[in-house]
């Protein structure tokens, strides 16, 4: 079944081919209109039914996952966006008919959550922008209830674009943003060089509430709105654009960073990481509690397979699920995850959704240039032969559950990866994992052969070994090694996938300062913990343990 030959002119091996819909057929939904697009494996939709299907899917994904929680607390820095209920409209003089109004309305202010839409200019995120725009302008009952903002990240420097091309793309992007009309933020990727190390820390999030509380909140929200009369809530129009192009030294530093990466795969991963940090920073600074990205079904299916190949299997549920709460206070959601790229492309074409095409790092790259490219070609080629490929992979990703690691108490979640901020999937004591094997195989390079026979990891060296060996000596050696090999204390704070990527970076120096600063900050703490470990009393204290002051 999985044999996809190069020449797909060959007839199907078993049975006649399934009948394809012909132009004379009618739309499968309304049975009247002339079909314009084939969805899934043979359903032909007419233009209007396709639009209804598409829009319905978007709203269903948001509704199903309880995206909007009326009364949800908004993040910091939103004092200017509060819409307090004016006292005048809460007068009891609304008449006897609306008996539930006077005095019974709780004096609660419902704040609409703020959602940042991450727009890349591409078709999926442009479609998402358009859906939000249409959704917000509907009549009150069905209106989407959140306050949107848009962020556009200019990545031209990482992709090697000339300043003229970047300016041209930016001008086109601004046109689209002005048409959409939401408050927008244009940031250049160069701004990662001025990010604070706090962007890598996971902030605690206010608990949202239970299922029952959600329903109650929606009910009283609707009641209050109905009682107070509809107040139109126009989006504040204060676009915030960057002032001119970024400084040349930052652009050069970014180019240097990306040119130093040896493989395209690592380049793509690094770009994604930096982009995520940048958008996260924008969201936190301006008080957005949620970020929406335009990942489509097709892209997520490709991403799932790519993540498996990159060693990020432990984090599939976060990387491809609907909501990703790894950052704590800011939640990343993917409302386009049920739309295939074909549906997006057709919708954009049929209903004139504007988008801006920008070349990426892997544009025009040959098929085997990176794991991402390879996986994309594999999935798309398979999809051409077997039209249920993408949806099958997608349905599998829906079943992934975010379960805590075995042995982890419900309380402390454990350390997080420095770059991707997922809970570390490494277990220093467990050398039977791929990670353990990798760490162990690197040891001969960092420790002299004499010490190699001892415990593979430092933290367990004193608890596991006793006896005549000066097992505390490797620590001294390790301290010396630390100065010679500063990469070690960065690498040990990364998850397996990020470590593999970092291998393709010959030197950590071109990295933006916030990464190195945060690594430095976390490292002494970890080291101090390790140093204390040996002094902690344990059950099987060894009497012959050499004293160490």
């Amino acid at each position: 079944m999985c044999e996809v030959g190069e020449d797909y002119r060959e007839p199907a091996p078993a049975g006649p081919p399934p009948p394809r819909p012909s132009r004379e057929q009618k739309c499968v939904k309304c049975k009247e209109g002339l079909p314009v697009v084939v969805i899934r494996a043979g359903d032909a939709f007419c233009r209007d039914c396709f639009k209804a299907f598409y829009v319905h899917k978007f709203r269903a994904v948001l509704g199903k996952n309880r995206l909007v929680f009326p009364g949800e607390k908004v993040g910091c820095g939103t004092a200017s966006r509060r819409r307090p209920v004016p006292a005048a409209s809460r007068t009891p003089g609304l008449g006897g008919g609306a008996g539930h109004v006077g005095g019974a309305v709780p004096p609660v202010v419902f704040l609409l959550p703020q959602v940042l839409l991450a727009w890349s200019g591409g078709p999926s995120s442009s479609s998402m922008l358009w859906q939000v725009l249409e959704g917000l302008s509907r009549d009150s009952a069905k209106r989407l209830r959140f306050v949107p903002g848009v962020v556009y990240a200019d990545e031209g420097a990482a992709c090697g674009q000339s300043p003229e091309d970047r300016a041209k793309t930016l001008a086109e992007a601004k046109l689209v943003l002005q048409t959409v009309g939401f408050p927008w933020h244009i940031v250049a990727l160069e701004e990662v060089f001025s990010l604070p190390p706090s962007v890598l820390r996971c902030s605690a999030r206010e608990p949202v509430g239970t299922e029952g509380a959600y329903k109650a909140a929606v009910d009283s929200f609707l009641q209050q709105r109905h009682a107070l009369g509809e107040q139109s809530q126009p989006c504040p129009q204060h676009p915030q654009s960057q002032v001119g192009p970024p400084p040349a030294n930052q652009t050069e530093a970014l180019s240097r960073l990306f040119n130093s990466v040896k493989t395209l795969t690592a380049k793509e991963e690094l770009l994604q990481t930096l982009r995520t940090h940048l958008i996260l920073h924008v969201a936190r600074t301006h008080g957005y509690s949620k970020v929406m990205t335009g990942d489509s079904c097709t892209r997520l299916a490709i991403k799932l397979m790519t993540s498996l190949a990159l060693g990020r299997g432990a984090f599939l549920a976060w990387d491809t699920g609907f909501s990703d709460e790894r950052h704590g206070d800011v939640v990343v959601v993917r409302p386009m995850r049920e739309h295939t790229l074909k549906e997006v492309a057709f919708y954009n074409r049929l209903f004139a959704v504007p988008s801006v095409f920008t070349p990426a790092v892997d544009t025009k790259a040959p098929e085997k240039a990176s794991i991402h490219r390879l996986m994309e070609a594999f999935i798309l080629r398979l999809q051409a032969q077997f039209p249920s490929t993408v949806s099958t992979v997608y349905r599998t990703s829906e079943k992934l559950v975010k379960a805590p690691r075995d042995g982890c108490a419900a309380g402390t979640p454990g350390p997080r990866c420095l770059l991707c901020m997922c809970v570390l999937d490494v277990d220093t004591a467990d050398s039977a994992t791929a990670f353990g094997a990798q760490t162990f195989s690197q040891l001969p390079q960092t420790q002299p052969p004499v010490a190699q026979a001892e415990a593979p990891t430092v933290s367990s060296c004193c608890s596991g070994m006793g006896g005549a060996r000066r097992c505390c000596r490797p620590e001294e050696e390790e301290e010396e090694e630390e100065e010679e090999d500063p990469r070690a204390h960065v690498t040990e704070q990364l998850c397996y996938g990020c470590r593999v990527n970092m291998k393709d970076l010959p030197s950590l120096d071109p990295l933006p300062p916030y990464i190195l600063a945060e690594a430095q900050l976390r490292s002494p703490r970890a080291k101090a913990e390790q140093q204390i470990q040996e002094y902690l009393l344990e059950d099987h204290e060894d009497a012959a343990r050499p004293g160490e002051s």
């Binding site: 060959e10 132009r23 074409r349």
Partner: protein, 99 residues
């Protein structure tokens, strides 16, 4: 004998990069013995319009997987395929616009 055919071919979503960045092409297909169909059109495009990297556009007799083809703003999969599972390359091209 097929008469010369005037067709507007439009590329989008990044495909225009392979055509010098030009999105819309108004072309006149020359007269030839066999009637024009999509397969012939693709061959003609590859020979006359495509500026670089043919493997990113054409694969075998058809377009590379992932590239969508619309004929008069309608999915080309709506046209009956005459050769098994594959997308219909042999759809007759009597209409004026392909994109």
């Amino acid at each position: 004998m097929a008469a010369p055919l005037s067709v507007e071919v439009e590329f989008g979503g990044g495909a225009e990069l392979l055509f010098d960045g030009v999105k819309k092409h108004q072309v006149t297909l020359p007269g030839q013995e066999e009637p024009w169909d999509i397969r012939n059109l693709l061959v003609w495009i590859k020979k006359n319009l495509l500026k670089e990297r043919p493997e990113l556009f054409i694969q075998g007799d058809s377009v590379r997987p992932g590239i969508l083809v619309l004929i008069n703003d309608a999915d080309w999969e709506l046209l009956v395929s005459t050769s098994g599972n594959s997308p219909p390359s042999t759809a007759p091209l009597a209409a004026l616009r392909a994109s």
